[in-house]
Structures are given as structure tokens and as C-alpha cells.
């Protein structure tokens, strides 16, 4: 059984994938909770992660992926992780990272917060040492940075995964019951025939979990705008990779912003761009779920920032009409007054959203032990 845990962090992203084989993969890190606040309903992320690692007798993650280095995806990371490049960020009860996954622009771009800079420095350090790192991009996009480091593409090519590929070590052949397929960052061919890197795009994975030959698929997106998503769909179809767009679970991009569906918000419901509509309306499976990592969906338009009710209305309608599915919001699960991490178990019956009665462990204690006679 595999597990995906999505943490309630307001309008910020962090989720963890626990594989049946014990591997743990963390996606983003946003420690946003006001420390010592009694009214902040967002979860205490470092605490949740530490408790889980302690339970598993682990001191670190097999993979920590940063979909991009915006503050709501890396906040507090410099205080939480044990990084290799600077003693200042080492020791104590810091959490280890076996393999760091970042998009190429995390290596090359400037203008970052303190936490973003630490992650960038760590990614560069690991890339220079050619270990414990995976970069996602068209390899050529790194050439100029490599030249400045007096390195060649051949030195690090094996550490780079382009869109349209599966992540080495994490594909079906590796026997972990999971396969990560990369949709973004990607490049697209321009009218003049040259390739333009969509480097501003954050990581987008299509994950296939397999249990007893039953597949469960998840489309895990970060801050992907509609035109990028539309292009991902177009390119993937052009390569005949439609199966990489099938979904049982979608982690919505950008906190349920209408801008991940279309340029126009719409009055009551956002009308998505055509290929995005195709993705949501035809590629889902019965009983599918869509998760918005956000605050509750507002009832009005007073706040221009996401989440947007018009986008939510679209997702809800599609799920209800087409898939008998469920639209979930991290900050209202299980209730708006007491959100808790959202846990999906994945087994041969596909997704199960965990609903534990808080009072006690269910199972052994709720039945009389059988008496053998």
C-alpha cells in the first residue's frame, strides 16, 4: 500500500508520498504556521514530518523535490533540512535529503528568498559534485551555467531528466510500484523551428502507482498557468502519451486559481481552455479526486487572489457529473474548524481517503478477540 499525505498549510504546498517499500518522497516544504498561535489552523509542518520520520525510524527522505523556489514552496526549508554545502545548515535534528529534485531554473535563476537561496546553493553544490541531485529540464538549458562552472553537459547529463521521460530509479522497471513521468519543465518548438525552454514552469509529475497490477494515477502540479498546462496536454498527445494524462487524483496548480484553467475567470464558473477541458472532462476515472491546496473556497469575489470560486465550481461540476468524484480543499478537510493532513491510501482498490475516528484505534479494540475452542 502506498500513501499520499497532503498537508493543510493555507495557500501553500507540501505533500509526501510514502511507498509500500518504505521510501519517502517529500514535495515542497512550506512551514507557514505562525509559531505559538492558537488560532492558526495550518498544520505544524516540521512537527508532522518529524513525527512521521520517527515512527518509521528514519532520519531523512529518499527524495525531496522543490517544484520551484517561490516562498510558498520552500519557506523554512533552510531551518529544517540538513544541507551538504554549508556547515551552518547542518547537524542537530535536521532532516537529511538523499536525492534533491529541482527544475533547472532553480540552478540558474536569481532573485530568491533566503530559503530559496539555500536550496539553490545546495542544488548547485550537489550538481558540482554530481551526486544526490536530479535536475528537470531540457539538458541544453543548463549549458551556459555549466560553462561558467567549467563543466560540460556530458559530466552531468545522467542527472538531468527532460519532459516526456520517466525519472531514472523511479520507473516501473525499478520495482518500487511507482513511476514518475515528467511533464514540466518542458520546451516547445517555435514557429521558426527553434526550441524555447519554458523554464519558468515548475515541476509537474504524472505518477503511476501499481498495486496487484491495479494502477492508480496522480497528476501532481505546482504553479502551472493555463497556457503551460494547455501546451503540456498538446505535446503529450502529440507524442501519443495520453496515458500520462489519465488521472485518479489531481493536485491542482496554484491553489485553485482560475488562471490555471483559462485567461478569463467567468462570472460563476471558469470556462477552461479547450485542451484543459479535455484533460479534466475526459481523462479522469470513476471516483476521482481533485485537491486544492488552499484556504476554503470563498463565496464571493472580494479577494482577487486564489482560490477562486469560479474555478472550484468548474472542478466540482465535472467531478460530480462525470466521475462521481470529490473536490477537496486542504483547509476544510475534514472540517474547516479543524483541518488535518489529508491522507490517501493507494492499494488494489485504488484511492481511499482516510477517515479515522479520532477517539481510538479502530480494529483490534473494537471487536472481541475470537475464542478458539
Amino acid at each position: 500500500m502506498h500513501k499520499i499525505t497532503i498537508f493543510p498549510l493555507g495557500n501553500a504546498d507540501t505533500y509526501r508520498i510514502d511507498l509500500a517499500g518504505g521510501q519517502k518522497l517529500l514535495f515542497d516544504y512550506a512551514h507557514v504556521r505562525e509559531v505559538n498561535s492558537s488560532t492558526d489552523l495550518r498544520c505544524d509542518l516540521p512537527h508532522e514530518l518529524r513525527v512521521d520520520l520517527d515512527e518509521a525510524e528514519r532520519a531523512g527522505f529518499d527524495v525531496v523535490a522543490f517544484t520551484h523556489l517561490d516562498n510558498d514552496h520552500v519557506r523554512g526549508a533552510s531551518e529544517f533540512f540538513h544541507v551538504l554545502h554549508a556547515a551552518k545548515y547542518q547537524g542537530g535534528d535536521r532532516i537529511g535529503i538523499r536525492e534533491l529534485w529541482v527544475p533547472a531554473f532553480a540552478i540558474t535563476d536569481g532573485d530568491l528568498s533566503e530559503d530559496g537561496r539555500v536550496i539553490r546553493a545546495e542544488a548547485r553544490h550537489r550538481l558540482r559534485n554530481k551526486t544526490g541531485i536530479r535536475i528537470f529540464s531540457r539538458p541544453e538549458a543548463l549549458v551556459s551555467w555549466l560553462e561558467s562552472e567549467k563543466m560540460t553537459l556530458d559530466d552531468v547529463r545522467h542527472l538531468i531528466t527532460d519532459a516526456g521521460e520517466t525519472v531514472p530509479g523511479w520507473s516501473a522497471a525499478d520495482g518500487k510500484g511507482v513511476e514518475f513521468f515528467v511533464h514540466s519543465p518542458f520546451s516547445s518548438r517555435q514557429d521558426d523551428g527553434t526550441l524555447a525552454d519554458r523554464n519558468a514552469c515548475s515541476l509537474v509529475f504524472h505518477v503511476t502507482f501499481t498495486v496487484d497490477e491495479v494502477n492508480t494515477t496522480a497528476l501532481l502540479m505546482a504553479d502551472t498557468p493555463w497556457d503551460a498546462l494547455s501546451e503540456i496536454v498538446r505535446i503529450t498527445k502529440a507524442h501519443g502519451n495520453e496515458s500520462r494524462l489519465a488521472w485518479d487524483l489531481v493536485k491542482l496548480p496554484h491553489q485553485c486559481s482560475y488562471l490555471s484553467l483559462a485567461a478569463e475567470k467567468g462570472a460563476e464558473e471558469t470556462t477552461p481552455e479547450a485542451s484543459i477541458a479535455w484533460l479534466y472532462e475526459t481523462q479522469g476515472h470513476e471516483g476521482a479526486k481533485i485537491v486544492s491546496t488552499s484556504t476554503p473556497i470563498p463565496r464571493n469575489d472580494d479577494d482577487t487572489q486564489p482560490p477562486h470560486r469560479q474555478a472550484a465550481a468548474y472542478y466540482r461540476r465535472v467531478l460530480r457529473r462525470t466521475y462521481d468524484g470529490e473536490f477537496l480543499v486542504t483547509m476544510t478537510h475534514p472540517s474547516e474548524t479543524a483541518p488535518k493532513p489529508m491522507v490517501f491510501r493507494i492499494d488494489n482498490r485504488k484511492l481511499t481517503l482516510e477517515r479515522r475516528l479520532a477517539v481510538m484505534g479502530v480494529g483490534a479494540t473494537s471487536v472481541a478477540a475470537p475464542r478458539a475452542g
Binding site: S335, D347, R349, A358, V367
Partner: protein, 830 residues
């Protein structure tokens, strides 16, 4: 009733207007509601239905029963309602309302359920639940899933009069066994778990009989499993047709003759107790294969049974008419016999899948065979003789024919036995067992109960009064051969063709049974000796030499110890050698010193040292029989690599603690010298070489202990004792001292029940020397000869040197040749 849509919790999970009508008091009940309106039943006094369901359904029509939580008076109802109202389970459980209905109280709530994306049963995200609590606190609170379209074919529901509401069967134990630990939180957790496991199709025990919780079906029918199998295979094997099977139930046994009705159906074999009667006749009907149970509500008349079956596409009337005619023609039923209908229902998991399960339902009718034939329009009496009609007349109404559903149990197969005992399958190995005494009879019965092996029991004893206290058989069997009793008892553990048999013979002198015994041995996979006779074990090891692996189990005289001597599969370490190594362990291993001590501390001597004394409690034998059975099961399951094993279990009768002493089983070393076979083992040779090594360059030595078999002319050299303190050794000499030696040998004899005696001397030769006797050795040998010949024993001297251990027996060789050489054990340079 208002439309169905608004009660669909998927679409509107909560907060429906409670001001709608009183009907909104609970979710809608589709069928049940209409029925309630048409014919309101005397719900609370109707003992044949599910009273709680009826109570609940009856309250639908009005809201006057509603009450506040604090108005509830029954402790469990109040506790449950208060707990939910407290919000402790929010947001998963929400209280809807409470009611007081006559002497019962009702708590209604909604529970949210963890659902897999792919569901086996259509459980909803949120399910409305009604709990009915009776004034009688010994009655389990009944749990009703009241959604109008809640799946009615779920396993583990209580049988109720109507299809809905579905009454959840939460526990597979009686409520009184959990009443003391009942809490609202556990109760609700169990309800949620039931729903969740049902949604996954993983609620265990789906093949259990429907729980007759409120109906209290006291009637029981026990059906031979073979009958069910034959029904499934009956031709034509067209599982889309209803078929009355041409299967004859030869008799029914009814115990006791009055209420409640408990019936066992027989085919062929007669019961051990009581006798069968022809007062009832069973008709077996195979229904069409389906994906759920046969009958989901409780029919009250034969008419309702037929309607229920016909609604599933079965044609019971047609099938019954044909079968009743045939039975009448064949005169296989008397007209006065009451009719029992056995419904065999092939169940498949999903449409198009093979049949994986069979349900059996038994219906007791109040009609005789003649009456049912007349009602079906196929029988008539002409001139006092009941005959089938050539042209059947119309079927008469059957709605005034009351019926009783009986709990149906199927008899066990060997596979069932194995499964219940935790074996993956019945073990069909052939086991020949020598001895069906106290230990043997119990081990055989144990093994038969777990379908471990097909046993042939060889014993020529008859059951005598003094056996009874420690034997599985009983007073009524006195005088009968133990082998027959053991085989018959073993065959009665499953309802199958006999697989165990008996040979009444003494294994040592089978006489006319010699060929039978030989055949049994030839076909055996394992020979189990529980004869408690050393003679038998020796014979098995040395004389009969069957190619089959042997294992001996026996108790010590006090019953405190159980010993297992198990040969390896290739029989390189035979029973007699294992026996010798056991004696050696009794000398050398402290926990085994008392192996042959009798109760009261008396020491026992003599050949029959495996006989138990007269005062061993049966409880002790039962413990050992259990251990022996476990070991036997392991041996049967062992693959080809089964090595020799020697183990002793000691039971502490005060604390009940059992400790196990494993003893290493060493490979045999056998040499022939003259007319004698000299048998020793790697264990002793290793010890002798260790002592030699320790004293080099000087010589060392000591006495040899062992056993003679004069019939087979075997000397077993098994043990030695450390040289007495006054022994003297040099590079070219060794003189064995004597201080304390007599006492030491006496102790050896005590610890081995006299089996071990002094048999000769050994000494080492230093490096570079041959193992030929020197002149002092010749003197030593003639001293041994003088000493032992006085006791009619052959003199033995063993010289341990570079070339091996050389035994000199009876005489010294005239030429300079070794009579035999035991090789130097591995690890010692020669």
C-alpha cells in the same frame, strides 16, 4: 413517499430541511415503508420478525416519538446519544435525533465512511444509521442501515423479515461476551469498520450462516458436505437452471425427538448414536448460480419461498413437481414423511466468474410428502395407494403453509479440518503407526483432527479397563481392539470416506498378517512407533529394515519427559543409534539425569523402560500427545532434506512449563569384527580424539560404556567417562585408575535404566605410533577378557591413534592387521 433523490447522501450530504415532514425523521425506506403503510404489524410483539426494524419502521409515520437526548432513559441509548452530541466524533458522526418507542429507545445518526475509489459494495460516503436499544440490556443494540437503496445483498447482515432496512451483523460473538466492554466509541468505530470493510468487500466470514439474532432460529439442520458437492456436480451441470437433484438422503436423525428441531441428514453411513428415521424426507434443490445469497428476507410461508426464488429466475415449482413424482414412483419417500427442502445455492463473486462459494439453506415445512405432492398437483391416492399423476393438475395455494428456516451446517471435509488447524492443506501422506496406547491413541486422534496423514494403525491389544483413564476410547469400547477403535475414531473426525485403517497384529510377530503389514510398510511415507517398546524400535531399525523413515515417541516412566527419536530421511542415523545417543545425553546432560527416574525417586531397570508407571495423570499425557502431534506434522511437511532429530521435552507439572532439550544426532560409524557388528558414532569418536589431543604427547584413556544386543550380535560403543584422578599417563604408557569409578558407573546405569554398562577400555597412542597393541596392551586385553568373560561378555579394547580408532573384540589378531578401523573424525589431523 417523496422522491428518492433528496435522500441520496452523495448529492446532499447533510443539512436537509428537518422541517419537511415527520417522514423526514429518517431517510426514506423504499419497500419497507410501503409495506408498513399497508399492513402495520404488531411490531413490538411480533416475535417472528426483526422487532427493532419493525419498531423503527413503524415510527416513520409520526414524529411524536422524538425526544431530546436528556429524555433518554436507557443507559446505553443515553450514553450513545450524548457521546455523539458532544461532537467528539465530528465531523465523521452527526446526531440526527432520538426517539422513545414503547420500551425501546432509538438513536439516529449519520456516519461518514472511508471509501476506496473502487468499491465492492455500494456503501455511500455518508450513511444514515439507526440504533435501536432495547430495555433489556442483555440484547445487543441493533444497527440498521436505513438508506433506501442500501445494498441488500451485503454479507454479514442479520436475517430480518424484510429486505430493508439492513440490520448489520457487527460481531461474530454473542453480545453477552462483549457487553461488559461496550462503549459508544467502540460501537461506532465498529459500525464504521463494518461499513468500510463491506465497501472493500473484505468483511471476513462472508460464508458464515446469517446470524439469527432476533429470529432465534432454534432449528438446526446438518447436511453432509458430499451432498452439497454432488448437488453442484449433478447433471445437467447447467447452473442457469433450477434443478431438483436425484440425491437420496438415506435417513435423518432427530435429536431430541421434541423441540427444538435438530436434524442431521445422512447419506449411506448410519449414525454412531441413535438411529435414522424415515419420519422426514429431504428434497435437494440446486438453485441457479447467482452473485448473492438466495433469500434476503425471511419468508413466512412456502408461497413466499417460491415467490422469492421465482423473482430470481428460479423455477422451483416445476422442479419440485418432477422430483416429487419421481420419488413417489421410486417409493423413496413415505407419504407421511415430513418434507425438508435443502436449497443449494452456487454463488459466484461476479457475473461471468466461476462459482466460488456455496450457500445452503434448509426449509422445514409443515407438510408431509403426500400433502406437498397433492398441493403441487402431482400426487393422488388411488385405492389407498399414493401414485404420481400422469397429467399433473393445478398447483394449489401454498401461502397457508408455514415454514421454518433452519440454521444449516455443513459437515467437515479433511480440507476443512486442515484449514481449521492452520494447515494449508490436508496432508495425504501414508503413516503407519505402531501402537495405539495412551500416547498413540491420543496422537492419532489429534493428527486425524487436523487431517495430518492417512493412518494405518498396527496394534494387537484390546482395550482393557485399566487403559480407559489415559486413552481416548471409552468404557463402551472395552474389549475391542485398540487399532480398530483408533482407526474408527480417526475416520469420524471428518465426514469423508474412511482414510484410516487398522491392522490387528503384533508388528514383531504378525503371523498371518505378515503380508498385510509388509504392504502397509512398503507404501508408507512415515513409520511412527508409539509402542513404548525398545524391542519394537530395535526391530524396526535393524530387522524389518523398511525403506521408510521411522520416528519413535515415548514417555519416561514418570510421564514427565517425552522423547522423539526421528531418523533422517535416508535412514543413516537409525532408531537404535538415536536410542543410544539419548542414553548418552541422559548421562552427560544435567536436565536429563532424571529421565528414567520413577515417581517417588525409585530407579527403574529393565528392557521395558518405556512403560509408564501406573500413576501418570491423563493431563500429562495430553500435553505430550499435543507436542508429539505438532512434531509429527512438521515431519510430514518436511521436504526431502529432513535430517535426524533427537529431542526431549520435560513438563513441570507444578508450573506447566515445558522445556525442550535438543540433542545432537551424530552419524553412525559401523564396523564388522568377526561375528559382531560394532556400532559407534561421530560424537563419541570426536570426544575420544579431543581427549587424546589434550594429553599429547602423552597417552590417555578410560572405560567404554555401551550396550550389547546379543540377538543381533551388536556392540554399541556410545560413551566414556573421564579417566579417574589416579590414572597415570606418559608418552608410552597409560594406566587407568579406579578411584570413584564404581560409583560413576553405577550412576550411569541408573541414569540409563540399566541400558548402559561397562563394555571395555580405550586408550590413545601418541603421534607416529601405530594402533597395533603393544605388549602392555596385550596384557591389558587379557585382563579385560578375564573380567568380562566372567560375565559372558566379549572383551573390547579400542586404540585411538593417527590411523583411526581400532577396535579389538574377543581376540587379538594373530597377524599385524587391524581388524577394523573407525576413521579419524574430521578436524583431527592423522
Amino acid at each position: 413517499m417523496t422522491s428518492q433523490r433528496d435522500s441520496d447522501p452523495r448529492l446532499s450530504p447533510s443539512n436537509e430541511s428537518s422541517s419537511e415532514t415527520g417522514v423526514r425523521g429518517g431517510p426514506t425506506v423504499q419497500g419497507g415503508n410501503a409495506q408498513t403503510q399497508d399492513s402495520p404489524r404488531e411490531s413490538s410483539t411480533d416475535l417472528t420478525g426483526t422487532p427493532s426494524a419493525a419498531v423503527w419502521a413503524g415510527t416513520l409515520l409520526s414524529s411524536i416519538d422524538e425526544c431530546e437526548v436528556f429524555q433518554l432513559t436507557l443507559p446505553r441509548a443515553r450514553w450513545l446519544a450524548e457521546f455523539i452530541a458532544s461532537g467528539a466524533l465530528a465531523p465523521w458522526v452527526t446526531l440526527d435525533r432520538c426517539r422513545r418507542v414503547m420500551d425501546r429507545e432509538v438513536v439516529e445518526f449519520r456516519i461518514r465512511v472511508e471509501l476506496p475509489q473502487r468499491r465492492a459494495y455500494d456503501i455511500f460516503d455518508e450513511e444514515p444509521i439507526v440504533v435501536v436499544i432495547q430495555a433489556d440490556a442483555s440484547v445487543m443494540p441493533e444497527v440498521l442501515a436505513v438508506r433506501s437503496d442500501f445494498p441488500a445483498d451485503v454479507p454479514h447482515r442479520n436475517l430480518s423479515e424484510d429486505v430493508r432496512p439492513v440490520s448489520l451483523c457487527l460481531y461474530d460473538v454473542r453480545f453477552r461476551d462483549i457487553a461488559a466492554s461496550w462503549t459508544p466509541s467502540r460501537f461506532i468505530a465498529r459500525i464504521q469498520e463494518w461499513l468500510q470493510l463491506t465497501a472493500r468487500g473484505e468483511l471476513h466470514g462472508a460464508d458464515q450462516p446469517l446470524e439469527p439474532l432476533f429470529l432465534g432460529m432454534p432449528e438446526m439442520v446438518i447436511v453432509p458436505h458430499a451432498l452439497i458437492e454432488q448437488a453442484l456436480q449433478a447433471k445437467p451441470v447447467d447452473l442457469t437452471q433450477t434443478l431438483c437433484i436425484d440425491l437420496r438422503v438415506t435417513g435423518v436423525r432427530i435429536d431430541p425427538p421434541n423441540e427444538p428441531f435438530r436434524v442431521r441428514l445422512y447419506q449411506g453411513a448410519e449414525p454412531m448414536f441413535g438411529s435414522t428415521s424415515r419420519s422426514h424426507v429431504a428434497i435437494v434443490i440446486r438453485l441457479r448460480a447467482r452473485t448473492h445469497g438466495a433469500i434476503r428476507s425471511t419468508p413466512r410461508s412456502l408461497e413466499e419461498v417460491i415467490q422469492a426464488l421465482e423473482s430470481e429466475g428460479d423455477t422451483p415449482v416445476q422442479a419440485l413437481r418432477a422430483r416429487v413424482s419421481t420419488m413417489c414412483r421410486e417409493q423413496s419417500a413415505s407419504g407421511e414423511a415430513h418434507v425438508i427442502l435443502v436449497l443449494v445455492v452456487p454463488v459466484r463473486r461476479e457475473d461471468g466468474q466461476p462459482v466460488t462459494n456455496v450457500q445452503t439453506l434448509t426449509i422445514l415445512t409443515t407438510l408431509t410428502f403426500e400433502e406437498i405432492g397433492r398441493r403441487l398437483g402431482v400426487l393422488e391416492r388411488f385405492g389407498g395407494v399414493l401414485v404420481p399423476l400422469l397429467t399433473p393438475s393445478e398447483v394449489q395455494p401454498l401461502n397457508n403453509v408455514p415454514i421454518f428456516l433452519a440454521q444449516t451446517y455443513r459437515t467437515l471435509t479433511r480440507e476443512d479440518l486442515a484449514q481449521q488447524q492452520g494447515l494449508s492443506e490436508a496432508l495425504e501422506h501414508r503413516v503407519v503407526c505402531i501402537g495405539a496406547g495412551a500416547l498413540g491413541s491420543q496422537v492419532i486422534r489429534n493428527a486425524a483432527r487436523s487431517a495430518a496423514g492417512r493412518w494405518t494403525i498396527v496394534d494387537d491389544d484390546a482395550l482393557l479397563p485399566h487403559n480407559i483413564s489415559r486413552h481416548v476410547e471409552l468404557d463402551g469400547d472395552l474389549g475391542v481392539h485398540k487399532a480398530l477403535l483408533a482407526a474408527a475414531g480417526a475416520n469420524c473426525t471428518a465426514d469423508s470416506e474412511p482414510v484410516h485403517d487398522a491392522i490387528i497384529a503384533d508388528i514383531l510377530t504378525p503371523g498371518p498378517k505378515a503380508e498385510t503389514v509388509a504392504n502397509a510398510l512398503a507404501g508408507a511415507d512415515l513409520l511412527v512407533d508409539m509402542s513404548a517398546s525398545v524391542t519394537v524400535a530395535r526391530a524396526l531399525a535393524r530387522d524389518t529394515a523398511p525403506s521408510v523413515r521411522c520416528v519413535s515417541f515415548f514417555l519416561s516412566p514418570t510421564g514427565q519427559y517425552l522423547t522423539m527419536l526421528a531418523e533422517d530421511r535416508e535412514r543413516t542415523v537409525s532408531l537404535d543409534l538415536l536410542e543410544m545417543q539419548l542414553y548418552r545425553a541422559a548421562i552427560e546432560s544435567e536436565p536429563l539425569h532424571a529421565l528414567y527416574t520413577e515417581r517417588g525417586g525409585r530407579i527403574r531397570y529393565g528392557q521395558s523402560c518405556r512403560d509408564i508407571s501406573a500413576t501418570v495423570p491423563q493431563s500429562v499425557i495430553a500435553v505430550h500427545a499435543g507436542i508429539a502431534t505438532m512434531q509429527l506434522t512438521h515431519l510430514l511437511q518436511e521436504g526431502s532434506g529432513g535430517g535426524a532429530r533427537l529431542q526431549v521435552w520435560r513438563l513441570d507439572e507444578q508450573t506447566g512449563e515445558v522445556s525442550c532439550t535438543p540433542i545432537p544426532a551424530y552419524a553412525a560409524q559401523i564396523q564388522r569384527v568377526g561375528a559382531w557388528l560394532i556400532v559407534t558414532d561421530e560424537g563419541l569418536l570426536t570426544r575420544l580424539y579431543e581427549e587424546r589431543e589434550a594429553k599429547l604427547p602423552c597417552e590417555t584413556g578410560g572405560i567404554l560404556l555401551g550396550h550389547y544386543d546379543f540377538v543381533r550380535r551388536i556392540v554399541y560403543i556410545v560413551a566414556t567417562l573421564p579417566p579417574p584422578a589416579d590414572s597415570r599417563g606418559g608418552p608410552d604408557r597409560f594406566t587407568r585408575g579406579y578411584r570413584g569409578l564404581t560409583r560413576a558407573v553405577a550412576a550411569v546405569q541408573a541414569r540409563t535404566a540399566g541400558q548402559f554398562t561397562y563394555i571395555g577400555e580405550w586408550h590413545s597412542h601418541p603421534r607416529g605410533c601405530s594402533c597395533l597393541p603393544s605388549t602392555p596392551d596385550e596384557n591389558l586385553f587379557s585382563w579385560i577378557r578375564t573380567t568380562l568373560l566372567a560375565d559372558c561378555l566379549p572383551p573390547l579394547m579400542l586404540i585411538v591413534g593417527d590411523e583411526g580408532a581400532v577396535p579389538y573384540l574377543e581376540t587379538l589378531p594373530a597377524d599385524s592387521a587391524y581388524p577394523a578401523v573407525f576413521p579419524v573424525p574430521t578436524g583431527f589431523s592423522s
